[in-house]
Symmetry: C2
């Protein structure tokens, strides 16, 4: 028996790897998602899948879910060439960038506002925490790291499918809000977080670790909050960790 | 004027890069620390410095602190070759691994116990949070990621100099404790963290995101605690984030 194998072309490999750059993702409006669990959640999400590259074992367990999706079987070696993971996990999907208008009426509960967060792992971990604490909307400054960066995507551990993420000019966003709810900002000189009484609907602004919250946003803040530095020796907390502690307190 | 430049040798570059592997760090008992802020804190710490490689500007600002330390001036290009950072920051130090005996009498306040934490960025962020909340002792299982991994070191943001980190067999550690304080464990089925009353001295055990806490440690646990999943949709929290939320609550 001759087993014919369709190889993935060099051009295709190059194209998939090119999506590691934000510029190319914006041009192609495509990004990648990897691994069994992530692709499993992708298949039941609203995201449109352009193509799935999977190993034989993956295909055998999932072909019933593929329906009209373009699928290519690839070898272990081919997967390593297109994957961004140290340990590639059976499958990679090419997915269309999802963009929807911000629905102001959906901004209930806590809405998280990120100003200039640079680290993709931090953004991913923040999205994962939002999912846990039922924060459904995340508004990011335009210079916040890209949602579709592969490290961001992978560190959401699937929560990307359950949290709405919007990028906009934050000052304009605040101006456009008619009935802005109580707005908290994480700072080093605010009120001790443990004494903050949560309002049902609220905004929480988190700034970058090095530069804090932009000056032009401070006028929209109703209450500054701080996570008490118990030791007095630590200089700051990781941005994802500070965010998560405050979301815990507000939850 | 002829400016003579002493170049860093290929062999030396290879040696420094070899310290990216744990095996070589254990063999040489050396690791690297990078960047102005980190090296500044290193210089006032108890760690022994083997050699510092720095750019001219760095040397000019710091030569008074160098005393008997072996120093080599290097170019931007040379720094890029030995650095692990995307944006190398003026200086890299070769440092001797610091090992001290665990002092049981120093285990006051909260002592954090990490079981099988794999991600170096997570370990670094945890150490940074410990510093903030005045947790001075961290006991790690032997299979927890190495403290001297460069990603761990860099993500501590200097807190490595203020938190004692010990690696040991955790079950043996518990057996060897005479008066074990109240021991909490983070689980998915414990008591709601918000209702947990803190004891002055306590242990907190955190397990891996995928496998939780090892079965053989559970018998040492007095109270299981959980961070309430408000949405019911998120599947888990990042290990560093879960740790930090609990340390915040216990602080």
């Amino acid at each position: 028996m001759i087993l014919t194998k369709i190889m993935i072309s060099r051009k295709e490999i190059k194209f998939i790897k090119s999506l590691n750059s934000k510029k190319n993702r914006l041009k192609e409006l495509l990004f990648t998602i990897e691994g069994e669990k992530m692709v499993d959640e992708l298949l039941s999400s609203n995201y449109k899948i352009k193509k799935i590259y999977g190993k034989k074992e993956w295909y055998e367990n999932n072909f019933s879910k593929l329906d009209l999706i373009d699928f290519q079987r690839i070898s272990n070696e081919e997967l390593s060439r297109i994957s961004n993971l140290k340990n590639p996990n059976n499958v990679l999907a090419l997915v269309e960038v999802f963009s929807n208008e911000l629905d102001y009426s959906s901004l209930t509960g806590t809405t998280l506002i990120l100003d200039s967060i640079n680290d993709p792992g931090n953004l991913g971990a923040i999205i994962r925490t939002c999912d846990w604490f039922n924060v459904r909307n995340l508004i990011c400054s335009k210079n916040t790291v890209d949602l579709y960066n592969n490290k961001t995507i992978q560190s959401t551990m699937g929560s990307i499918f359950r949290v709405n993420v919007h990028y906009c000019n934050l000052a304009e966003f605040f101006v456009s809000m008619n009935n802005k709810p109580q707005t908290y900002a994480a700072t080093l000189d605010g009120r001790n977080l443990k004494n903050v009484k949560n309002k049902k609907d609220n905004f929480l602004i988190i700034g970058s670790e090095s530069h804090g919250i932009s000056e032009d946003l401070m006028k929209f803040v109703d209450e500054k909050v701080k996570i008490e530095n118990i030791s007095g020796t630590g200089e700051s907390l990781n941005a994802a960790i500070a965010t998560s502690i405050i979301l815990y307190q507000l939850s």
